[in-house]
């Protein structure tokens, strides 16, 4: 049974995670102005259709707004933290050109992204046990091949301190 809608691949996690553009920390708002009809806006329309979900997935704290049929020419506008505004003309451009241009001017470079990933890996040691938020596992009983949780299955008597102390008492 195929997925519903046109180009439902846009609605898969794999597609969303493949997004290229990760904005720099100063970019706060992204605004896309485009028209619903006309060939000049075609690239902008495709950009909104295909690339905006990827961008929003990778940048959850950036506000993305779309404006339709406000101005005759399509463009993108970015509002940065210092109050600066960046205007990117999108008239007649292809959606791939637009996304590459945006990545070049306001996206984090490959090296920065890899450095961040390394930092994240170093920060979180998978060998640690602790709350689910910070570590992979909470208790050794969760690992396959280890003693199961005594809350679910009672431990054998040799491992129970209560039984051992009882035996010691009765013997001596």
């Amino acid at each position: 049974m195929p997925m519903k809608g046109r180009y439902p691949i846009r609605r898969t996690l794999e597609y969303l995670q493949k997004g290229d553009i990760v904005f720099k920390n100063t970019v706060k708002i992204m605004t896309v102005n485009y028209n619903t009809h006309g060939e000049l806006s075609d690239g902008a329309r495709k950009f909104v259709f295909f690339n905006i979900p990827q961008i929003q997935y990778k940048n959850p704290w950036v506000q993305v707004m779309m404006f339709k049929n406000v101005t005759p020419a399509p463009f993108l506008k970015f509002y940065l933290d210092d109050g600066d505004q960046v205007l990117v003309d999108a008239e007649g451009k292809d959606h791939k050109d637009i996304s590459q241009h945006v990545k070049k001017i306001l996206g984090k470079s490959e090296e920065v992204l890899q450095a961040e990933e390394l930092a994240r890996m170093v920060h979180s040691n998978p060998a640690n046990f602790g709350p689910k938020k910070y570590c992979l596992r909470e208790c050794m009983c969760e690992v396959e091949g280890q003693v199961p949780c005594p809350g679910l299955i009672p431990l054998p008597n040799e491992m129970r301190g209560k039984y051992k102390s009882q035996m010691k008492g009765t013997e001596v």
Partner: protein, 143 residues
């Protein structure tokens, strides 16, 4: 207890003005894209903010850029008006700087008003000249 002085998480916001009935305050609706977990599709989620507008320049329907105030001004007012991005009925195209309505350019009235007055007198002069030339042409033909 310096938590409240940071005010809000969002420093800069773009939204549409929905109400100006309060004195020096604009009610702004901000839409953000939120992913539906099951459909994996983005939908607009609305939130209203109150913004301080000292000169009461906003009208309902303006698209507005808000800046977070360093300290909360009132119980609900957390932002102030930084810039009106698109004024309703008077949108200015940032690429050309001209007035725009939808996908067409608006020509301002002042330009079109000046020319008719000048062109009318010119047209009158042309008519006189053409009438004079016609008379001159007719007379030799008659004679």
């Amino acid at each position: 207890m310096s938590v409240k002085s940071v005010s809000v998480h969002a420093k800069w916001i773009v939204g549409k003005v929905i109400g100006t009935k309060m004195q020096k305050t604009a009610k702004v609706r901000v839409t953000r894209l939120v992913l539906d977990q099951y459909l994996l599709k983005y939908y607009n989620k609305r939130k209203t903010y109150f913004a301080h507008d000292p000169l009461e320049q906003c009208t309902v329907g303006d698209v507005v850029l808000l800046k977070a105030l360093p300290e909360r001004r009132a119980k609900h007012v957390t932002h102030e008006l930084a810039e009106i991005v698109y004024k309703v009925g008077n949108v200015i195209d940032p690429l050309t700087g001209k007035q725009v309505a939808g996908s067409l350019f608006r020509e301002t009235l002042t330009d079109s008003m000046e020319n008719p007055a000048g062109s009318l007198t010119e047209k009158l002069q042309e008519l006189n000249i053409s009438a004079a030339t016609r008379e001159i042409l007719q007379k030799p033909s008659e004679v």
